[in-house]
């Protein structure tokens, strides 16, 4: 992977001696008290950030990266405790400062861009007062001056329509606009340091790129220091001068972006680098050209071996009555054909209609128009027992392994659920089936008696896959099955899905927002936007020679996030 370093000012060495670093964390240890026990979250962490620098902290969930960020602004949850070390900020030690004095620094000297733009703004208040708040609290501006400055800040954050945005309520703005508002708020106190906790992970890739561009530009123009917390190593390498890799509460690797991407010898960093999904955009050699043609024929709607065929699917959501009635066309004229034993990928951003399409295929949502055939039989309006028979053949794996299983049931009961519903075999036979499914998804048989909350995200997703496959369906709808998981776990789950596909001759309908994953995993790809398919073909067709402008935009954004 090559790293774009253009435009970055030369920065001082990471291991430079103390003189005048803006942030100097030394030997920091933090623990949480959980049910009477003390759990270490950070151990002996050191970090330096200079003015004008962008530093990224990269790590998986549980690495302590968010704890580090919240410790710096002294916003640790009530059960968190600083055990050792110092948090130097421009000469003072934040770890020992009184709460009242820390409050003076927050907003004024340290700005914070939170992770989730959807829940980080007060829903009952207009944007204007929320942006002005920091300036009024710290008394840096009078009310009229703060208003003028707020408009200016919103404009700088990339909201050209700033006057209107000032008057708007949060729910009237899109996710990308809200994140820009939050960036404007972080800059409102003219702080020296900005901490951004996963600033783009809740955003679509095209929006994320624009937001990151704007954030980097502002930081550079105003000579601020920026600390980015992220799980995305590729993004960190492209955006930051320095990258710090964390794992299990420790800093395991660190250096300039170039050092990390080109010369890092640390095994964990290398593993992260190798497992980040890569887009392959170079044209495939002539030898491979035959495969796309075969795939195109296989996925053609006329192929007799097609397992599932959707023709002209349309979904309209209606709300309100009479004059207030509104119509939202979520999916418009989508056709697809999934042959037995292969993977059909649908890629798109939020609101593109990809999940609604999946829900119609699952018959959880009724199509407004169009038809659905399974094994040559029309199942568009199947009801009652016929619908249950269809459910036996089509199963689903959801995005979130935390929401998709009943926390009160044991893993064994969860996997057994479909078999029990269809009364397949005796209790003893079904128990044996549960154990063999656990084995198939590479979990120890002892897990059958555990409950979901004792399992990690990756383990839960394996359980969800075991549940879906326990009644031997022909088609599994995978609705973003890996996007809630850490990078290394993603690779494992994809490998497992591929092995199981071969073993059980499964067909997959694979829904994802991640282009690289779809390219590597699917045999055929459809790109969706605004409810329609803009382009479809083999992964090489779509990604190496995109015809539609939207596909090109998506690819560019993914490459340069």
């Amino acid at each position: 992977m090559s790293v774009a370093q253009e435009g970055h000012p030369p920065a001082a060495d990471l291991l430079d001696t103390d003189g005048g670093a803006l942030v100097g964390v030394e030997g920091l240890g933090v623990a949480y008290r959980v049910k009477g026990a003390s759990v270490d979250a950070l151990r002996d962490v050191a970090l330096r950030v200079e003015r004008g620098e962008i530093v990224a902290i990269v790590g998986e969930s549980g690495s302590g990266k968010s704890t580090l960020a919240t410790t710096i602004v002294r916003l640790l949850p009530g059960n968190g405790e600083i055990l050792a070390g110092t948090v130097g900020f421009d000469g003072t030690d934040l770890a020992r400062l009184r709460e009242r004095d820390v409050r003076e620094l927050r907003g004024r000297r340290i700005g914070f861009v939170p992770q989730d733009p959807m829940t980080s703004l007060t829903p009952t208040s207009r944007i204007g007062p929320q942006v002005m708040e920091t300036m009024l609290i710290h008394g840096t501006h009078t009310r009229p001056a703060a208003r003028v400055r707020a408009v200016e800040l919103l404009r700088e954050a990339g909201l050209s329509d700033a006057e209107r945005v000032m008057q708007a309520y949060p729910h009237e703005l899109s996710g990308g606009m809200r994140q820009r508002v939050l960036i404007a708020m972080a800059f409102a106190g003219d702080p020296d340091l900005i901490i951004a906790d996963e600033p783009t992970s809740a955003l679509d890739v095209t929006v994320a790129r624009a937001v990151m561009d704007r954030l980097s530009l502002l930081v550079r123009e105003h000579h601020k220091a920026l600390l980015i917390i992220t799980h995305d190593l590729a993004m960190a390498l492209r955006r930051a001068h320095y990258v710090v890799v964390m794992r299990s509460g420790r800093v395991v690797d660190g250096g300039t972006s170039e050092q990390i991407s080109e010369h890092s010898t640390h095994p964990y960093t290398r593993e992260l680098l190798e497992n980040s999904p890569h887009l392959r955009l170079e044209h495939v050699a002539a030898a491979a050209q035959t495969t796309p043609r075969v795939a195109r024929e296989l996925f053609a709607p006329t192929n007799p071996e097609t397992l599932l065929r959707a023709t002209g699917l349309r979904k309209v959501f209606r709300s309100g009555h009479g004059r207030a009635a509104k119509e939202l066309v979520a999916v418009d004229d989508v056709s697809l054909a999934v042959p037995a034993g292969s993977t059909y990928g649908i890629v798109g951003e939020s609101g593109s209609g990809k999940s609604t399409t999946a829900r119609m295929v699952l018959r959880l949502e009724d199509a407004t128009a169009g038809s659905l055939t399974f094994r040559g039989e029309d199942v568009t309006h199947a009801k009652g027992e016929r619908l249950r028979e269809l459910r036996r053949e089509i199963q689903v794996v959801y995005q979130s392994p935390f929401d998709s299983m009943n926390p009160r049931l044991t893993v064994g009961a969860i996997i057994d659920e479909p078999g029990r519903a269809f009364r397949l075999g005796t209790a003893r036979e079904r128990r044996a089936k549960v154990l063999s499914m656990l084995d198939a998804v590479q979990l120890p048989s002892g897990f059958a008696d555990r409950r979901p909350d004792e399992l990690s995200g990756g383990q839960r997703q394996r359980v969800a896959i075991a549940r879906a496959l326990s009644i031997e369906p022909a088609l599994v709808v995978l609705d973003e099955p890996i996007s809630a998981l850490d990078v290394l776990i993603q690779t494992q789950i994809l490998r497992l899905l591929r092995d199981l596909q071969e073993e059980f001759h499964l067909s997959y309908l694979f829904i994802s927002h991640d282009l690289a994953t779809v390219q590597n995993f699917a045999d055929y790809v459809a790109v969706m936007k605004d409810g329609g398919v803009v382009e479809s073909g083999t992964p090489d067709d779509v990604f190496c020679a995109p015809r539609h402008q939207y596909t090109k935009d998506l690819l560019t954004s993914a490459m340069h996030l």
Binding site: K35, G36, S61, R392, N406, R408
Partner: protein, 286 residues
């Protein structure tokens, strides 16, 4: 959210969790202990009462709380503590029965309304709403007019009037749980509607209902007390807390304890029910 690292958990000392729980929930434990005491008193009144609650002794009238009359005596010299103890066996069983009745009827109505939906939901919801529009005590008296007086009719009347809040809460909870992904996942797995309700929806929806049950026990007791206070219910001279408050009011200048003791008992029981209800509402994890 930061997830703590698992390999560095320093295990708590044995019994530390129990101790931490006791320290955290001291008030809840105290409330629970008090309600258990009231229940014991209800079941074995003879164990707690030193005197006959009905026997008048004019020479001992208007004694303030002191030995051997710990809570004092009333205007005809009856021991107040003994009357309180035997009064519990008049009020508590009725309150328990009323709450159980509210719980069973309310939860059933709520589950049926939310599960069947359409016109069934509309009918049940309108019915519950119209009952809610009428003051509770008025409904109770309307029922009593039909059912006649006595402990059982009072319990049934209070129970029927109280099932409205259970029904509305259960219906809302069922709707909430049904929109969760795991319920949809079960449905997509091919699980039938009633199995989903029984295995997934009801267990997920029941917690706030348990909280309401504790709260409702206090409320039922108060309603039953109010009925006694207004002169219905148990006939004198049998002791009844509500009636004792009313009786004591007439002698408040000479013997304040006659109305304060039963009144304070109501307040304490309701506070305890509140505390336990709030404990269930927030869950025992903190």
């Amino acid at each position: 959210m930061a997830v703590p690292i698992s390999d560095t958990v320093r295990p708590p000392r044995p019994g530390a969790r129990l101790l931490a729980f006791a320290r955290r929930e001291t008030v809840t434990l105290a409330a629970f202990a008090f309600l258990v005491l009231i229940l014991l008193v209800t079941v074995w009144p003879g164990l707690f009462a030193a005197f006959d609650p009905l026997r008048a002794n004019p020479s001992q009238a208007y004694r303030p709380p002191s030995w051997p009359h710990l809570l004092g005596t009333d205007n005809v010299g009856r021991d107040l503590l003994s009357r309180m103890v035997f009064g519990a066996s008049a009020s508590m069983p009725a309150a328990l029965l009323a709450t159980s009745l509210s719980l069973v009827i309310g939860v059933t109505l709520g589950v049926v309304a939310a599960t069947l939906g359409r016109w069934v939901d509309a009918v049940i919801t309108r019915l519950l709403d119209s009952v809610l529009a009428i003051p509770g005590l008025l409904i109770v008296f309307a029922f009593l007019a039909v059912l006649g007086n006595g402990t059982l009719p009072i319990a049934v009347a209070v129970g029927l009037a109280g099932c409205v809040s259970f029904g509305r809460l259960m219906r809302a909870e069922v709707y909430r749980v049904r929109s969760l992904t795991y319920v949809e996942a079960a449905s997509a797995s091919g699980v039938r509607g009633w199995t989903i309700a029984w295995r997934h929806v009801i267990p997920g929806a029941i917690r706030p209902v348990i909280a309401l049950t504790a709260l409702d026990l206090g409320a039922s007791l108060l309603t039953i007390g109010a009925i006694g206070y207004l002169g219905f219910g148990v006939a004198p001279p049998a002791p009844e807390w509500g009636a004792m408050v009313a009786e004591g009011q007439r002698h408040v200048a000479d013997a304040w304890w006659m109305s304060v003791v039963p009144g304070l008992t109501f307040v304490l029981i309701i506070l305890c029910a509140n505390q336990i209800s709030r404990y269930f509402e927030r869950g025992n994890q903190r």
